[in-house]
């Protein structure tokens, strides 16, 4: 069963992008769109967007970099570790919960390390995997998306995003304990 799912997953991820591009281009031809001109016209904007997000991304990533490099992550983990027992979260899964919204590559590294240390079929290994799969690099997304349209007043997006992240972590802990505990 697992093999079948892996097969389907890998097929989708290979076929989806070429398939989508082919479909859109062919559909454009049928609808008599000048596809090459339209493509170039749209693509021109790519450079501007890429350059426009640089200041926002630098601001966000440098702040996260300082936080990580100075060891604040470990201190934060220590401070909130009394709470983890309360929600049945193993202490080993806590770094993952903190890293997930801050850094994508960092979270991937923490997940791989935790899985290696505890085994992929352990409760902790599964918990960090579910956290990785159900979470997102919230602060990167905020910086890039809002940065692309030069928005600095983000209103309710940040608190709602953080609440959703916390709920995601709590749900990951709860459901992994429920099914595999």
């Amino acid at each position: 069963m697992s093999d079948i799912i892996i097969n389907i997953v890998s097929t989708i991820s290979v076929v989806a992008i070429p398939g989508l591009i082919l479909f859109i281009v062919v559909y454009g031809v049928i609808k008599k769109v000048k596809i090459y001109e339209a493509f170039v016209e749209g693509a021109k904007e790519g450079f501007n967007v890429g350059v426009r997000i640089i200041p926002y991304l630098v601001a966000m990533l440098v702040a996260i970099g300082i936080f990580r490099a100075g060891g604040a992550m470990e201190l934060l983990a220590k401070l909130i570790s009394p709470l983890t027992n309360f929600i049945n979260m193993p202490a080993e899964a806590l770094p993952m919960a903190i890293m997930r919204p801050l850094s994508g590559s960092g979270a991937l590294g923490v997940m791989a390390e935790t899985i290696k240390a505890n085994g992929p079929d352990s409760l902790i290994g599964r918990m960090v995997a579910v956290m990785m799969g159900s979470g997102e690099t919230t602060f990167y997304v905020l910086a890039v998306y809002f940065g692309s349209v030069s928005i600095t007043k983000t209103r309710q997006a940040v608190p709602a995003g953080i609440i959703a992240d916390i709920v995601g972590i709590l749900m990951s802990v709860w459901i992994v304990n429920l099914i595999f505990g």
Partner: protein
């Protein structure tokens, strides 16, 4: 809000680094300036006395009782002094390993030695490492600030190509009417989620494409499509620089991750030898669905708060 988070990350990050460095200095964690009595066992029977500026392969016996011996080479200087290059292995004490990392010499840990008496092949000596200070603050500067500023630009520039591709493809889809079609098909859902956006607005189409790409786990396509959607949403923005309700809702859908099949996670579990790498799909779908719903409900409720409402009024 982002202001405070930004400030918090920077201030806390630096404060923790300073505190940790202060503690290292006050307890002299790295034994700065302390001389360590050790023995060096010369290899290959060299001719004595030792000549200066000559390199001798040797074994450093730090503690015979603990079994800590290290391969090293001794470079003899003048006046019984010398430099020791210690090669790291599994027996290296943890503190030395840290000093080695901080020294940033590719292959070895560097120590200064004062040579004492020689008995046969064994040299008595006193060993001292260069002083190690401000480990965390150095890390903040090099691994935090400089490295991440560079990564940010690399990420942004790396987006340009894929960005251009998808914006071009989206233009074709827009002109052929495909996006409008997609938008009208999902009208019942999208008009509830984004009541301020007209149902046939290009922003709807772009948002739907972004969310679909996210669900399929196509991160390469999702970001450009999402940025396209932001650009379209910004055309409806009456107060540039401030996020609209629709933007906030769209952002929360993106930050709560609606991916149905976490391909990367499955791949890592498979390579780690999990008995059933895909058995986390169910839990992931439950967790991500719940957090997306909670996120959307929260963002909708918060949008009714006076603080946030006030920000989109034109005169403020």
């Amino acid at each position: 809000m982002l202001n405070y988070i930004w400030l918090g990350l920077i201030v806390i990050g630096i404060a923790v680094a300073v505190r940790s460095d202060w503690r290292d200095i006050s307890t002299n964690k790295y034994h700065n300036g302390e001389e360590i009595e050790t023995l060096i066992q010369l290899s290959n029977n060299p001719t004595l006395p030792l000549t200066s500026s000559q390199t001798y392969p040797c074994t450093l016996i730090y503690s015979e009782a603990l079994g800590i011996t290290q391969q090293a080479e001794l470079i003899v200087g003048s006046n019984n002094s010398g430099v020791l290059h210690i090669f790291m292995d599994d027996n290296t004490p943890p503190l030395w390993r840290e000093v080695y990392k901080i020294q940033k010499n590719e292959k070895y840990l560097l120590a200064h030695v004062t040579l004492g008496g020689i008995e046969g092949q064994t040299v008595h000596c006193k060993m001292v490492f260069d002083p190690v200070k401000f480990v965390k603050l150095n890390a903040v500067t090099n691994d935090g600030i400089i490295k991440y500023a560079k990564i940010a630009v690399e990420l942004a520039l790396g987006l340009i190509g894929i960005m251009a591709l998808w914006l071009g493809i989206m233009k074709i889809a827009e002109q052929s009417g495909l996006i409008a079609k997609l938008a009208s098909a999902l009208k019942p859902v999208t008009t509830r989620l984004f009541p301020d956006v007209p149902a046939d607005h290009p922003a709807m189409g772009a948002m739907i494409m972004n969310i679909s790409a996210n669900m399929l786990g196509l991160a390469n396509a999702a970001t450009p499509l999402g940025l396209k959607a932001m650009e379209e949403l910004n055309k409806l923005n009456k107060k540039l620089g401030t996020a609209t309700d629709a933007m906030c809702t769209f952002l929360v859908i993106n930050t709560s991750n609606v991916q149905l099949i976490p391909a990367t996670v499955i791949a890592i579990r498979a390579s780690a030898g999990a008995s059933n790498p895909t058995d986390i799909i169910g839990p992931v779908i439950v967790a991500t669905t719940v957090n997306t719903i909670v996120g959307v409900v929260t963002v909708k409720l918060l949008s009714r708060l006076k603080v946030f409402k006030k920000q989109i009024q034109p005169n403020v």
